[in-house]
Assembly symmetry: C2
Homo-oligomer: 291 residues x 2
């Protein structure tokens, strides 16, 4: 059994990006610039954005954060996005979610110029991704593709089962792995809350991608001997054994499942560290006008 | 075994559309207007466009056809699209494929204003469709959804296997039937040329959608007893028994498969008649500014 070390792979990619930024600066090209908009004072959002800023600085990107109170009107927010769309200094733009209820998330996402949409949430990026055209791919699926590639997992002709059909993980993941690309060319089965024989289908998977948001739902009897298991779940569980008073766990019951796997991502240290790194990859692409 | 009569369902839908157009005219609203661009003199394209014009006239739509020689430059074609995009009289625009090799199909599709993209080929429509937002859905998948709905096929919790991952049929079909909608909420497996155990997966299907482009590929041993089978294939096979000298056949070996099915679409008279009808449905939506 091989543990796919997301932390190590993320660090490798960040080193590669930092090297490329250094070369850009040496060639008198400006560093990639990521802008984030944050509305309101949700503590988790503050932490996420702060982590993104930190990651930007680690690789030499410029980062800017636009903070607004939750009283901002939809029009004001859309105008701000328009302003950033037209600012040539800024390569990538993300709008941290959740947004206050009086603001339409769909309108906000569609307002972002898709060539700066480094979150890959704009419908046009989703559509281009599905057609195998140059596009920003959402951070978590992009991170998983990188993990599979760098861990040396062969995907062609494999049966990949995706558990969970969310718009930012399960659904794009199912499309990406069915494309005629590498990684890709899997037979893909997409399962969700309405799936009847989940255990039976899951146990057929050569590659099992679990993005259900259910604590330790996937047990050993749902996994085939030799499967590759990617665990996207992230749950805080109270614990007496840690200083913080909690531990992080996934959607997969790691102790029993890992024994059957050829490859598995742990929680923490698997998919998680790749998410921000994938955002950096997208921002670099945006700066290089690759999309 | 129930034969899903695509011709009959298509006629029903066309009557409903014709009735709605009459009401629009009675209310002094102009009739929906579909424009088609055709480049070069491919005989099949001429026939397709002529059939689309005929269908428009049947339901009371206005139709116009812009014909260009295959020497038209890409820029001239893109300018024409822009002109039609800005013509408020025209609700829907399709550009008949294939196009000459010196013209980028992707550029042409992306040039069409997505609110007039009644073929549903623009990436933004694909992305919105995947997110369950109002969008134009490509004609063949939309036609199949209508067939399933009007034939009364229940889809929720069913295992749907899609054979073929083309961008205009298999791929969108797999996304549509996995969405949290009705029809939808299927567990969906998408198979293609790289799938290894096609027969085994196909035989698990409660609903089998065959869009492979391979004459009579699906035999009885690939189909579960009681399955719903939708055959998207269309092949001309030489025949001494018909005046025309050929017969139409599908991707499914109908005689042996139909005996096992709960529902099946024949070829001809199944999915085929729904395709142009779905285009009319989209054009009506465009005229009503529903997208």
């Amino acid at each position: 059994m091989n543990i796919i070390d997301g932390k190590k792979i993320a660090d490798e990619i960040k080193s590669e990006i930092a090297k490329e930024v250094k070369e850009m600066l040496d060639n008198n090209t400006k560093a990639p610039h990521l802008a984030a908009i944050i509305v309101g004072d949700d503590p988790a959002s503050q932490t996420y954005v702060a982590n993104k800023e930190k990651a930007c600085h680690e690789v030499g990107f410029i980062s800017s954060v636009y903070k607004y109170p939750s009283t901002i009107t939809e029009k004001e927010l859309l105008d701000t996005i328009d302003f950033i769309n037209n600012d040539d200094d800024i390569d990538g733009l993300i709008v941290q979610q959740p947004l206050p209820k009086h603001i339409s998330v769909d309108k906000v996402i569609e307002k972002i110029n898709y060539t700066k949409d480094v979150d890959g949430f704009h419908p046009i990026n989703f559509g281009k991704m599905a057609s195998n055209l140059p596009a920003f791919i959402a951070a978590t699926p992009l991170g998983i593709l990188e993990l599979l590639k760098r861990a040396g997992v062969e995907t062609e002709g494999k049966h990949c089962v995706v558990l969970g059909r969310s718009h930012i993980v399960g659904s794009p993941m199912s499309i990406l792995l069915a494309r005629n690309t590498n990684p890709g060319n899997c037979t893909v089965s997409l399962c969700h809350s309405k799936t009847k024989n989940l255990k039976e289908i899951s146990a057929q998977a050569d590659i099992l991608i679990v993005a259900m948001g259910k604590l330790e739902y996937v047990k050993a009897d749902m996994v085939k001997e030799g499967a590759v298991v990617i665990d996207v779940g992230l749950h805080r569980v109270p614990s007496n054994e840690t200083k913080s008073g909690f531990r992080l766990k996934g959607d997969v019951k790691y102790d029993e499942v890992s024994k059957k796997c050829s490859y598995i991502t742990p929680v923490p240290g698997g998919v998680g560290p790749m998410t921000i790194t994938a955002l950096l990859m997208n921002t670099l692409k945006a700066a290089k006008k690759e999309i």
